[in-house]
């Protein structure tokens, strides 16, 4: 059985979520094809053809696909699945993948397995439920298995070493249902949250967005990304895409430093697979200390500048 991986749209190069999704695909055992879609994606398709383990790259290059609108992408994927006889369709658990994959699954009249963290066999997968407080093993008897893949649970495949063929996938059309209007992308020189080696996150304890430069100074010294709890985002300290947690981004860096974050289960769900967790909180009873490898009971306004100076 062949697997179709829907690549994370990219303006240049192959994105990490595509590589980790390919990591999951490699566990299924069959041949792996990758759909690269967007507008002007020739170079990205060529880069994808170099990725280890990819047999074929399908390129859907069309103006209608420029913004990855689900209404236009899903029918294209469904056509490919029906024509190509794919047994599995995998997409990364990014906001792109989560938006598109269920639309594909419903059009195929199959269930979707969300956010898989393990491949037991070609039809059996593990996935977290209840904010990661339980892990379910689920089996699908549908003819096509559509799944989204949790990036932190799989090893990224090597970006080089492959030599896939590249083929054009035609048939993209504008559904006429939706139109892209605008995008406000947060600009940052720092690494992306989901692929950073170190993350410094701030919570309500930061008191205001004006205090986030304290964390940014620390992050700059460590080459870290900056994240946040929901409370910090809701209060407007930082933009929405900083949110780590059950309903935000799932991260698993080498080092996660939680500053002024209490440790609600919804937050832990997004970061408890980090290798080393540090918590700085003035309340020694804060639940975050139960999962932190190193806990420092201190006022963050004193401890963070000290830490930045010390490193």
């Amino acid at each position: 059985m062949t697997t179709l991986v829907i690549a994370e749209p990219s303006a240049e190069g192959v994105k990490v979520p595509t590589l980790t999704t390919l990591g999951a695909a490699s566990k299924l055992g069959g041949e792996v094809h990758v759909l690269v879609l967007g507008q002007g994606v020739g170079a990205v398709a060529d880069a994808t053809a170099q990725v280890a383990g990819v047999a074929k790259v399908l390129t859907a290059d069309a103006a209608e696909l420029a913004h990855g609108l689900a209404e236009n992408v899903a029918p294209l994927v469904v056509n490919l699945v029906q024509a190509g006889g794919y047994g599995h369709v995998l997409a990364p658990s990014t906001t792109f993948g989560k938006n598109v994959a269920p639309r594909v699954a419903a059009l195929l009249d199959v269930a979707q397995i969300s956010d898989i963290t393990g491949v037991e066999s070609a039809d059996t997968f593990t996935r977290p439920i209840y904010a990661g407080n339980a892990i379910a093993t689920v089996q699908s008897s549908d003819p096509v298995k559509v799944a989204t893949v949790r990036g932190t649970a799989f090893e990224a495949v090597a970006a080089t070493g492959g030599s896939a063929s590249v083929e054009a996938a035609s048939g993209a059309t504008d559904s006429g249902l939706s139109k892209f209007v605008s995008q406000e992308v947060s600009k940052s020189e720092r690494p992306e949250l989901t692929s950073a080696r170190v993350i410094v996150s701030g919570g309500r304890g930061m008191q205001s967005g004006d205090n986030f430069p304290l964390l940014e100074a620390l992050a700059d010294k460590l080459g870290a990304a900056v994240g946040a709890s929901r409370a910090a985002v809701d209060a407007g300290f930082v933009p929405n895409d900083y949110q780590v947690g059950q309903t935000g981004k799932i991260v698993a860096p080498e080092l996660y430093i939680a500053v002024g974050i209490s440790g609600a289960i919804q937050h832990l769900a997004g970061m408890k697979d980090s290798k080393v967790i540090v918590a700085i909180n003035k309340d020694e009873e804060a639940p975050i200390f139960q999962i932190a490898d190193y806990g420092l009971v201190a006022d963050l306004f004193k401890a963070v500048p000290e830490l930045t100076a010390e490193i």
Partner: protein, 249 residues
């Protein structure tokens, strides 16, 4: 414009669930149940659209057991006009729920269907997208702003890199993210009034829908536990441990 809102009864977000010893699921006996938090946001948005004169009627729907009537009553107390329970005692899965909602959407002909982006029990994040697919409608997922206009709705979406705005043809499906609004608490008089609002019960078969789960749960297990850590006495000690013990900096 009529607005249809889907609400699910789930284990309250404050409850730390326990996995059953026999590995068949999580313990939901004597556990506090509430409306899925994202669905409260969905109901609130519909009520605000009505208050702004943009919605005429709000119909709330739940697929689940008899007890889901309480969830529907909560939505009625928040300001919905009437409720429909699609009675089902088995576990519901997104594709089946989407099919039931599709059947009701065809009957009710809403201009907008609002769902939560994710149910906090199954963490699936699928139902709205599936419903939009089955209806052949546009989808505005993870919405942080919803602005209806003549024949279209502008939806601002929370995406990985920031925010994106799309214009959708109506009728459309919208799923809510956390920043869309802050749901109100139902006042006591409104809770009393809600008891008199119409609540209809239908079964899935009468809608011609098969709710049987497609995915079989073979096992539910506890996640790997983190070994407890240590408290350090100072920033200097922390830095030393990170350098020599954990070796991450």
């Amino acid at each position: 414009m009529k607005v249809l809102v889907a609400v699910k009864r789930v284990v309250d977000y404050n409850v730390k669930v326990r996995v059953k010893a026999d590995g068949t699921g999580v313990d939901t006996a004597n556990v506090k149940m509430s409306m899925n938090p994202f669905d409260e946001i969905a109901v609130e948005e519909a009520v605000r659209l009505k208050e702004a004169g943009k919605a005429t009627e709000i119909v709330v729907v739940s697929v689940g057991p008899t007890q889901a009537q309480e969830t529907l009553r909560t939505a009625l107390a928040m300001g919905a006009d009437r409720a429909i329970l699609v009675q089902s005692d088995a576990e519901t899965q997104p594709l089946g729920v989407a099919k039931a909602l599709k059947a009701l959407a065809e009957k009710e002909q809403p201009g907008l269907v609002i769902l939560g982006k994710q149910a906090i029990d199954d963490d699936a994040n699928q139902t709205g997208q599936m419903l939009a697919a089955l209806l052949g409608w546009a989808q505005g997922t993870f919405a942080s702003k919803v602005v209806p206009a003549e024949g279209t709705v502008a939806v601002t979406r929370e995406i990985d890199g920031g925010l994106e705005t799309v214009d959708l043809k109506l009728p459309a499906v919208v799923t809510t993210d956390l920043r869309l609004n802050e749901p109100r608490y139902a006042s006591l008089p409104n809770i009393m009034k809600a008891k008199k609002k119409p609540l209809e019960t239908v079964d899935a078969a009468s809608l011609g829908v098969d709710l049987a789960p497609r995915l079989k749960t073979l096992k539910v297990a506890e996640p790997a536990k983190r070994a407890g850590g240590v408290k350090v006495g100072s920033v200097q000690e922390l830095v030393a441990k990170l350098k020599t013990e954990a070796r991450v900096i």
